[in-house]
């Protein structure tokens, strides 16, 4: 651009300096001179106009270049700032390296429908929503807790703390568990009861609430695995607040925040893998129970449950509770076969009440339950994806109670389940099933239920 300006200026100067010479030589003819001068002047005026235009163009180009330079400088500054911020951000952000504190939301939910000839109408059931939270700090410990939200028949929402525990690995073979934990007795409660794992809509008779199966306890556990050759032993030893007496005079086997006697329960389970796919286990729990302690602000007393005191009875104000059990699980490929047996006894004792400080007599209470269950996922049958997702299941079990007529009338039964599950995904199952309940007390009618459920483990 500058070169063009230079050339134009030079041409203009040359032309201007030549004007006087031209004027001297053109004096020969007045008319011819005038004509040449006019032409020259016109040309000069044209060149001057071009020169002005060029100057304007040059100035505009200079301004544009200046603005471009400023923009470039600003861009360089911005890039520099972004680079600095990126370094700062990378230092504090996840970069593929493990964080010190991590967490994970898990759990399960289910909804369903229950119909049949049980007391009350057929009904949709809201099921449960059980979110579980796992918080881990390095490899030092993990805190885990699970809540259970459900809706009662009158529309109220209930919330329960299923478990809330710290797990602290001591070494390769020992982990300390402290808090409220799922009972390690047997297999069903600790491992199989979530609805996306349980192959039937409900628990086996005697393995749910008001059963012989402890659901949880509050205390400490030592647990782990000991390799022995090609196999292994697993163990869990628990020291907890232990069982308590219920308002009805039964045994409450749920974790409580405060013990009502100075006696702690001791129990646990030992498992053994006879084969990689065959696990055998034995469980034991013992502790003392004392009388029913009404919650603060309540005055209920279990007077209606008092029994006649046997002649020569030497019952005390506490009684020993003892439970033992065995379990087996064969899980190979699509086939899963399970068996569990639990047997408990509580001695006779006097349960003090507000009306009778000497205590009402509660006789010896015995409970035992067992079930066997077989399920088969048809993943190797035929070539249809629909069939591959089907899983028939059958379960049979018994629950027996002695020493407590009310509990026996409500719960003692033979229970037979037949079901067909369809797996929408590895953690989403729809279940359709029939359940026959044959109660063991004369006069209590048997029930046949049909049940549907969809469960999702997340």
């Amino acid at each position: 651009m500058r070169k063009t300006l230079f050339l134009s200026s030079a041409i203009a100067i040359v032309l201007l300096s030549a004007i006087p010479a031209g004027a001297q030589t053109s004096t020969s003819t007045e008319e011819g001179l005038s004509s040449a001068n006019q032409a020259l002047l016109a040309r000069i005026e044209k060149l001057e106009a071009e020169l002005v235009a060029l100057r304007a163009s040059v100035q505009q180009s200079a301004q544009t270049a200046s603005a471009a330079k400023a923009t470039a400088q600003s861009a360089v500054k911005t890039v520099s700032t972004v680079q600095k911020l990126a370094k700062v951000g990378a230092a504090g952000a996840y970069s593929g390296a493990p964080s010190d504190a991590k967490w994970h939301l898990a759990g399960y939910a289910d909804v369903g429908f229950v119909g049949g000839d049980m007391p009350g109408p057929d009904s949709f059931v809201t099921g449960k929503f059980n979110p579980g939270f796992h918080f881990q700090y390095k490899d030092l410990l993990i805190f885990e807790s699970e809540l259970e939200f459900s809706t009662t028949s009158d529309g109220e929402t209930t919330t329960e703390l299923e478990y809330s525990q710290f797990d602290i690995p001591i070494n390769d073979y020992v982990t300390l568990v402290a808090g409220k934990y799922l009972s390690p007795i047997g297999q069903f409660q600790e491992r199989l009861h979530p609805s996306w794992i349980n192959r039937i809509q409900g628990a086996p008779a005697g393995f749910g609430h008001d059963g012989v199966q402890p659901t949880s306890d509050t205390g400490v556990q030592l647990r782990g695995t000991v390799p022995v050759g090609n196999t292994r032993f697993t163990y869990a030893v628990a020291l907890g607040n232990g069982p308590q007496t219920t308002f009805e005079g039964g045994v409450k086997l749920e974790g409580v925040s405060k013990d009502n006697n100075s006696n702690k329960s001791l129990g646990g389970r030992i498992g053994f893998f006879a084969l990689p796919y065959l696990e055998l286990g034995g469980s034991y729990l013992t502790g003392k129970v004392s009388g029913y302690a009404p919650p603060v602000g309540h005055e209920e007393t279990p007077v209606t449950l008092a029994a006649d005191v046997p002649v020569g009875s030497s019952a005390q104000d506490q009684a020993r509770y003892t439970l033992w059990g065995m379990d087996a699980a064969y899980t190979k490929g699509a086939l899963a076969a399970r068996f569990e047996y639990l047997n408990s006894h509580r001695g006779a004792f006097f349960s003090p009440t507000a009306d009778d400080p000497a205590g009402v007599f509660l006789p010896r209470l015995g409970m035992k339950a067992w079930y066997g269950q077989v399920s088969y996922r048809m993943s190797n049958v035929g070539s249809s994806d629909f069939i591959h997702n089907l899983e028939p299941v059958v379960r049979y079990g018994q629950f027996r109670i002695t020493g407590h007529d009310v509990l026996r009338e409500e719960n003692a039964q033979d229970r037979f389940n037949l079901g067909l599950n369809y797996w929408l995904a590895p953690t989403i199952v729809t279940k359709a099933g029939l359940e026959w309940r044959d109660f063991r007390v004369a006069g209590v009618p048997s029930e046949t239920l049909y049940q549907f459920q969809i469960a999702y483990g997340f």
Binding site: P98, F135, K138, L140, N171, R191, I197, L222, L239, P276
Partner: protein
């Protein structure tokens, strides 16, 4: 009654001593695990796949490795290490497999 109280004291003392004595082991173990996690090898992934199938499938269907992120698998497998009584090396192998597969 006195014997019972003595038993309780013994149990409590044993727990406390076990906790204190093993605390350094837990810390040392965490360093080891961290080093291993940073160097997954193909054989570890293979061992993890086998342990995943044998242990996790014992109680429930096998979740897809893609369901969770690496960090979530870290926490989930630690949770299951306690629940299913897994050995620490098994848990590390399973983590390596899940992270390599998600």
């Amino acid at each position: 009654m006195k014997t019972m109280k003595n038993n309780r004291i013994w149990i409590g003392t044993t727990l406390v001593v076990a906790m204190l004595a093993a605390a350094p082991l837990a810390v040392a173990g965490s360093d080891d695990n961290k080093n291993k996690a940073s160097k997954p090898d193909p054989m570890q992934v293979v061992r993890g796949a086998k342990a995943w199938k044998n242990n996790c499938g014992r109680c429930h269907n096998l979740r897809s490795p893609k369901e969770l992120t690496d960090e979530e698998w870290d926490v989930s497998v630690t949770h299951m290490r306690v629940r299913a009584n897994l050995l620490p090396l098994e848990a590390e192998d399973i983590k390596a497999f899940l992270k390599a597969s998600n």
